[in-house]
Structures are given as structure tokens and as C-alpha cells.
């Protein structure tokens, strides 16, 4: 029983410490951290994978929106006749 208690305490202590931890940060340190954050360049891009939404309703809406956008990009009948 004693061994079990020691084992459980060993497992739980890090969690307890994590849950307890709020460390006071000086305003100078905050400014330094903000400055270093501002230096980070977000540049890594990813190619979109060919996957579909799980919801069929969402997939249908997206298809409608795509069709509407394609239609909006085409010249209007008046513009075509004036060429």
C-alpha cells in the first residue's frame, strides 16, 4: 500500500506542479518577448490536400459558391455583345 502511494505521488506531482504554475513575468520581460515574437517570419506554406468536407451539406454549399464565383468571373452577355 505504501509503495502504491509513493508511485501515485510520483506520477501526480508533475501534474500538480503544472496546474499550480503561474509565474510572475516582469514588464521588461514581456516587452522582450513581444519584440522577439514580432521578429518571427511566418513563411512556411502548404499545398492544399484534395480532401472533401465530412458534411455533405457543406460540400453542396461549397459547390454552389464555386459555381457562383465562376459565373461572376465570366463577362456578362452585354459585355460579350459589345466586343
Amino acid at each position: 500500500m505504501k509503495k502504491l502511494a509513493v508511485m501515485l505521488a510520483t506520477l501526480l506531482l508533475p501534474v500538480a506542479g503544472f496546474a499550480d504554475g503561474t509565474v510572475a513575468v516582469s514588464s521588461l520581460e514581456v516587452k522582450e518577448r513581444i519584440r522577439s515574437i514580432e521578429q518571427i517570419n511566418v513563411t512556411a506554406e502548404k499545398e492544399p490536400a484534395d480532401i472533401a468536407p465530412e458534411s455533405q451539406r457543406v460540400a453542396d454549399i461549397l459547390r454552389e459558391l464555386d459555381e457562383a464565383e465562376d459565373k461572376a468571373e465570366q463577362p456578362s452577355a452585354d459585355e460579350r455583345h459589345s466586343d
Partner: protein
């Protein structure tokens, strides 16, 4: 003895779940809070401009001249989204935004509250209006999703734009983290994946929403990541 065996079984079968969940985005890590949102100038500027442009987002289709870029389909998407479940709203916003043309924001065009081009800014966070008119890159995809979900009623406290270090790409990337009602966190990436159980390929660097900034770099050795100049 029975307790020991039970504990062993829990650890044996729970370990894979724990391992995956171990890299879930740490929404509850209060110790990572850094500062109010306005401490980050570029982000504070984006929030202010987004607020100023809010009405311009919805002037299309009533005003045809206001229907620039993807604003017409944006308005349709928001109307249709109102009838969807929360899960479906996230999916719609995610896939809709990801269909936007990529535009490297090294030269980013910005617009004033009247929709007129106001200048260019290098490497900044787009407003939703800027993004729908001119496109953007990964951080703009993340902020666009943030603003759209906010307009659909998702709480700011459940949304964060997160900058990660992507190990595969060896660079910094941006995603949107959405905390769900059951406590799980969905990670919306520009590669079309919605990762619902964390992602081993990310190291969370910092995050922000309209109220706060979080710094996650204490969770790992910062010198293990490239500096801004590299």
C-alpha cells in the same frame, strides 16, 4: 495487487491516446498567457482595421460596386452557414477560406474603411476584408477563419490564431485553433486538414485572439528553432 494491475492496464491502453493528445493545442495553459492583444502592434492594427471595415463586408450584394474579390460569395456563405450546426460551420469556413488564391503578403495591399486602397504593408496580418479582396497567405487564412467564426457567434475565448513551427517545412506557419464544447481542440490548417487530436508535426510558438497573446516557447527549448534571420 489488483490496483497495480488496473493501473498498468490503464497506462498500456491509454498511452497511445495520451501520446497523441500530448500534442493537442494547450488552450488551458494559463501560464503561457503573455499580454493583452494590443501589446502586439501589427495584430492590434489588424483588429482595429477589421472593426472599421465590418460594415463594408456586408454591403455586397446590395451595392454592386462593393462586390470586390470574393465578397459576393462570402455573403452567400455566411447566409448559408446560419442554418448549419457548429461542426458544419467550422467545416464551411475552413474549406471556403482555403479555396482563396494564395498571395504572398510580402507586399500586402490594405484598404481604408471606404474600401479605397490605403497603402502597402510588408508581412502583416490581413483583415477579413483585405483577404477577401486580395487573397493572402497562411496567417491570413487563419485570421480570416477567426473573423468569420466570430461573426457566426463563436466566442473569442474559444478561438486562437496560432503560429507553429512546422517540422516538415522547417519554417513558421499559422493555423486556427478552435476549442469545442467537449473540450477537444480542432486545428484548422491551410492544407485542408482539420486535426482534431493535435499534430506531432507542430511546435506551438505563440497565439493570439482579440483579447490576449500567449507565448508557448517556454514549453520547449527556443534555441532549437531557427531565428527570424535564418
Amino acid at each position: 495487487m489488483f490496483l497495480l494491475r488496473s493501473l498498468g492496464l490503464v497506462l498500456l491502453f491509454g498511452a497511445p491516446t495520451l501520446a497523441v493528445a500530448a500534442n493537442a493545442y494547450p488552450f488551458s495553459a494559463a501560464e503561457d498567457y503573455l499580454a493583452p492583444a494590443d501589446a502586439l502592434d501589427g495584430w492590434a492594427n489588424t483588429l482595429a482595421r477589421h472593426n472599421a471595415q465590418q460594415s463594408d463586408l456586408y454591403r455586397c450584394p446590395q451595392e454592386r460596386k462593393a462586390c470586390r474579390g470574393r465578397l459576393r460569395s462570402f455573403n452567400k456563405a455566411m447566409i448559408r452557414a446560419a442554418a448549419l450546426s457548429a461542426d458544419e460551420q467550422i467545416e464551411l469556413v475552413h474549406f471556403y477560406v482555403n479555396r482563396t488564391d494564395y498571395d504572398d503578403d510580402r507586399v500586402q495591399r490594405v484598404y481604408d474603411e471606404h474600401g479605397k486602397r490605403a497603402g502597402v504593408i510588408r508581412n502583416h496580418w490581413s483583415t477579413l476584408y483585405d483577404f477577401l479582396v486580395d487573397g493572402g497567405d497562411c496567417e491570413d487564412f487563419a485570421t480570416a477563419k477567426y473573423f468569420m467564426l466570430r461573426d457566426l457567434g463563436f466566442a473569442a475565448q474559444d478561438l486562437r490564431v496560432v503560429v507553429v513551427y512546422e517540422r516538415k517545412l522547417r519554417g513558421y506557419h499559422a493555423i486556427l485553433a478552435v476549442r469545442r464544447a467537449d473540450g477537444t481542440v480542432w486545428l484548422l490548417d491551410s492544407d485542408n486538414f482539420i486535426r482534431r487530436r493535435g499534430h506531432r508535426g507542430y511546435r506551438y510558438v505563440y497565439a493570439m485572439n482579440e483579447t490576449s497573446i500567449w507565448d508557448h516557447r517556454a514549453d520547449f527549448e527556443p534555441s532549437s528553432l531557427p531565428t527570424a534571420e535564418q
